[in-house]
Symmetry: C2
Subunit: 512 residues, 2 copies
């Protein structure tokens, strides 16, 4: 069947579907969600000449009449030879082989490396629909993936995008998340880089939390770079703290994540490959993995965290990444600040002045940095944290951070007081004497996000006193910042409705 292209001035952002009129679809015998093979005889490039697309159906001649094929901007941008009125020929197409492999996973069968690779290639090319991929992700959630499958998936996702080579010894640190205020990467990267190790830290923006490492770093310097710019940065400073999203690494992983997110799914079988593929794409050889455990994290108990650690180490080793894991406490925020600007300010303050603390940030950051130093041989076993503290205390880490900020296009002389916060602020005070027995992370996150995090960088919260601290009635315990007066009021409402994140009690916790 010959059809005339009609450009549709609409970008779906994630599908490569085309639109047919119901009459033509019936004539072809294809329903919505089925496929057609498209041939553009005038095109010279092979990719533009033949491809398979999933069809949407126009039942009422709204967009395409019979004889037309509607093409979205997503495809028009890719296939330059397609224009309004281009004549293409189409015929029904069967689902690709990868479709059968998804059915296999639904039946609970194990997939071979080739089968997994074929799913990933077709996920990126668009010949598997989002519905197909949702079925795959759900099947993986229910039926799981074994070590060989996760290894194959990691390699397939990595092959789907850009890959970097920064030398034989490349280090990194990653966290499985779930603790507010976890700005440790802003301390760890400059420590590790200051002793001469290569650490190309790429991170995400916040998804469900008030701030991701990329959001906080962006307060100090730009974080979005092309692959070529990244090569420049790392070759000069052997380090970076950037947002991974602009790098074109592992597009397959992004396609899957776009589906997992609205489904609130993050099955282990996809989570491990997702972490590892980003590291592998950046040429990482040795990794320290921070695994927060407890309420609000992915691992409710230390046992679950440990199980995950062993599994992760094995898959990582299969793809050539040596990993050390640290199970960490997650019962309250790291440091006192939550929110992009507040976290950047807290980290910058510590880098400039070790005595400024806070202790929990120093301890966690130097502990993890120390593990990297030990893996590299820069420190003896058991001496890593001491060396990390020394590098931090000496100002060498701060010097390195200034270089990183500068090469990423920020102002290396930026001072904590230059960082814009608020401007609207609300303070909360203790209404009795006592000891802090609980700091509730989920209330902190809720308040910080209501105040505007992460899209407003200057919004956030400060937890003035933390667990175990002795408090007098009238002491300030909590502060909320917002870019908007009305959002500040909403955040205040949540504080009042929940009683706030800080719980006071006497020293006696329980009487038996």
């Amino acid at each position: 069947m010959k059809l005339k292209v009609k450009e549709i001035n609409f970008e779906t952002g994630n599908t490569k579907d085309v639109v047919l009129n119901i009459k033509d679809a019936q004539e072809l015998g294809q329903k919505a969600g089925e496929r057609i093979f498209i041939k553009n005889p005038k095109s010279r490039s092979l990719e533009d000449k033949f491809w398979t697309a999933i069809i949407q159906i126009d039942y009422s001649n709204t967009i395409v009449n019979s004889g037309e094929i509607g093409i979205f901007l997503d495809i028009l941008r890719e296939k330059k030879s397609l224009k309004n009125e281009t004549i293409v020929s189409v015929k029904p197409a069967e689902p690709p082989d990868s479709f059968k492999f998804i059915q296999k996973k639904i039946k609970g069968l194990k997939l071979s490396s080739e089968e997994i690779n074929s799913i990933i290639v077709d996920a990126v090319s668009g010949s598997l629909s989002r519905i197909d991929l949702t079925a795959f992700i759900t099947a993986v959630s229910i039926n799981g993936m074994d070590n060989e499958e996760m290894t194959a998936l990691t390699l397939a996702e990595t092959r789907s995008g850009e890959m970097f080579y920064f030398g034989m010894d490349v280090y990194d640190k990653h966290s499985t998340g779930g603790v507010p205020g976890n700005k440790v990467s802003l301390i760890i990267v400059p420590i590790v880089a200051a002793v001469g190790l290569t650490i190309p830290k790429s991170s995400t923006r916040a998804i469900t939390s008030p701030s991701g490492t990329a959001d906080s770093m962006e307060v100090l310097a730009p974080v979005a770079f092309t692959p070529r710019e990244l090569n420049d940065i790392v070759s000069k400073e052997n380090a970076c703290i950037i947002w991974g999203g602009a790098l074109e690494t592992a597009p397959a992983d992004n396609v899957l994540i776009e589906i997992e997110r609205p489904l609130h799914m993050d099955p282990i079988g996809l989570m491990i490959p997702s972490i590892l593929t980003k590291k592998l794409s950046l040429g990482v050889k040795k990794l320290v993995l921070d695994i927060p455990v407890g309420d609000g994290t992915k691992f409710p108990s230390t046992d679950k965290g440990k199980q995950f650690a062993y599994l992760f180490k094995e898959i990582a080793s299969n793809v050539g990444i040596e990993t050390e894991c640290a199970l960490t406490l997650a019962h309250q925020p790291i440091g006192h600040a939550v929110g992009p600007a507040l976290e950047a300010r807290e980290a910058l303050t510590l880098l400039r002045d070790y005595s400024a603390g806070p202790n929990s940030l120093i301890e966690k950051a130097t502990d993890l940095a120390g593990m990297i130093l030990e893996m590299s041989g820069k420190a003896q076993k058991g001496e890593g944290q001491n060396l990390a503290k020394e590098v931090l205390r000496s100002g060498k880490a701060y010097e390195k951070m200034k270089n990183i900020i500068e090469i990423q296009g920020g102002d290396p002389e930026i001072k904590p007081e230059d960082i814009k916060i608020g401007p609207y602020v609300k303070e909360f005070f203790a209404n009795k004497d006592g000891y802090i027995v609980e700091v509730n992370n989920s209330i902190i996150n809720q308040i910080a996000k209501t105040a505007g995090c992460p899209s407003s960088k200057s919004s956030g919260v400060e937890i003035i006193k933390k667990q175990g601290a002795k408090i007098k009635k009238g002491d300030i315990v909590f502060r909320v910042y917002s870019h908007s007066e009305s959002k500040l009021r909403k955040a205040e409402k949540i504080y009042n409705a929940t009683g706030g994140p800080i719980r006071l009690g006497g020293m006696v916790i329980e009487k038996v």
Copy 2:
């Protein structure tokens, strides 16, 4: 956040999504696939005033700028108070409770009636996305549904749409499919109606086969009717043979089927409710279910068919439908004709003249019709088929069929020779003497669909001689009709490449 409506001249056909600019989505903290609560303060109807929609994101100001919300035709048609430039206010919304119930099914847990009902209500309203529903369907495929869940799903799907009442005793016949040329409903309905029973037969158009009952009936009379028209037809003739698609019964079932089809999924847990909900919506109280078993059907063995029959009877009984099941042969087509017009012609020929046969059609149709006659008490146990044959032979069934054709708007005097077939025909001949040992259904379907079925009604195939028949070299064995010369040639190619559906052998099948 206040946003200005921008109409998008595009009908998605199956989603109730809205489009936000990436800036506004970030400000709201919502990603693609997440939800917003929309309020249209000017609207007077409650349904138009508040609703929850899933968002798509425009990353490049292609359709909506910041400050605008793109609304598709699907929603504009429903919510009349929405116009270009209407100001609505939006805020982030959590997934509905039904989303949690889907997660529960993914975890393998049993759902309560209320939980299933909530999924179905939200599937129809659009507050569950197609991705959510794909996860649900996949989870049901893997984890199954028990009898109580299937019963609840049947009731929930039925409640989602139009329901009819045609009296206390309403009969029906249904087939689980998989046999080409199965035009038995065109014979059964007039037989059953001729003895005074009520049988409002609604059927589907072909999905994967060359012709559905609705496609064949449409050759004789219109088949698409509104609920009001259907009430008229059945109150006058106590029967009909119509397409179910225009009735607005069980929209929830259609939403699920739109996803199952491209996934090639048809899990028992959804299939049984899907069949029963359509019967229940039409007020059916007693049902005969034809379950073809063998290659090409849903049930590869008699055992599997029987298991299904027992399960079906139980769920049907739970929702108040008494069911008798018949496991039937599926090794070759019923009768000789495959394709809408050819099947209508074969059925009409038999209705007018019992002696015209074919035998396989007479036997299967009267056997199933006889089961209904026995269930109703019109025939004694064991006498149903005889009565059915008598009604057919006497011409009473033909008289009834003429009435049905007339009331549906067709020409009751239509004769078999008036039915347009072809016009392009190709005949195939035996190339040796022998007995027919196999008639291959899947090759028949492939040839018929290539010739143009079901969208071209006049296309199809005739299987002149069937299994067991003695053939001489040069005898005609097969005929292909098409509306298009080029399609006929393609069908011919398939015949030649496969050797055709008719396999000859000596009388001795195997020598040991």
